[in-house]
């Protein structure tokens, strides 16, 4: 006589596809994951363009520099 738990296990086993051997990745993924968590995201192109634009504006209008230093 099978218990309800054993019936549940049997049903689950019959519903899932059989695996002859455990599926393992072809290589160790841990170092890649570790490297990915440690890498710093680089600044997007928009921020570089913005920094260039700000420097260009300051170069074009140098008289504003002391004013910006005062106000900001």
């Amino acid at each position: 006589m099978m218990t309800p738990d054993e019936r549940l296990v049997m049903s689950l086993r019959s519903a899932l596809p059989k695996q002859d051997s455990p599926q393992e990745p072809s290589r160790d993924l841990w170092p890649a994951l570790l490297a990915r968590t440690r890498e710093r995201p680089s600044a997007p192109w928009f921020d570089w363009a913005l920094a260039g634009g700000v420097l260009l504006l300051l170069a074009l209008f140098p008289a504003t520099l002391p004013v910006l230093l005062y106000c900001l």
Binding site: A43, D47, L50, A51, G53, V54, L57, L58, L60, F61, A63, T64, P66, V67, L68, L69, Y70, C71, L72
Partner: protein
């Protein structure tokens, strides 16, 4: 470090002005003492020394209290600060005689002539610069202090 997040936000906000202030003071002193430019240094330093650092700290506290509601990134939040600082600085400068308004230009410190047409690009530069400083410097500090 789970306690006093607003104190940490205030101190994180103070970081940039505290670094810039000695540079500003040096520039003013070199211009006044070394180059003999007639800058009213006492009046000129009131706003950047008394108001700007505190406002940075308070603005960072404001971001901490509001960003969950507004979903505004710290860069965009910081980019809004010149909209408060520049009118406040101009008003203070006008009140203390640092800023004089002429027909076509504003004269700062009796030496820097800024045509009115240049004010818009100056504003854009300030907003862009603030976006970057808040995103990369103060954002980094907030992450390190555990509040972002």
């Amino acid at each position: 470090m789970k306690t006093h997040p607003y104190l940490r936000a205030f101190l994180g906000g103070l970081f940039v002005p505290v670094l810039v202030m000695p540079v500003l003071l040096t520039v003013f002193l070199v211009a006044r003492v070394g180059l003999h430019v007639a800058i009213p240094i006492e009046q000129a330093l009131i706003f950047p020394m008394a108001v700007v650092p505190s406002l940075f700290g308070l603005w960072n506290m404001f971001w901490l209290s509001s960003h969950e509601r507004t979903r505004l990134s710290i860069g965009l939040h910081g980019a809004l600060l010149p909209l408060v600082l520049m009118p406040a600085g101009a008003t203070t400068g006008f009140a203390f005689g640092v800023l004089k308004l002429a027909a076509t230009e504003a004269v700062w410190f009796g030496a820097a002539h800024v045509p009115y047409a240049v004010i818009a690009p100056m504003y854009l530069a300030a907003i862009g610069g603030y976006y970057l400083v808040w995103k990369y410097v103060i954002g980094f500090l907030d992450r390190e202090l555990g509040i972002a």
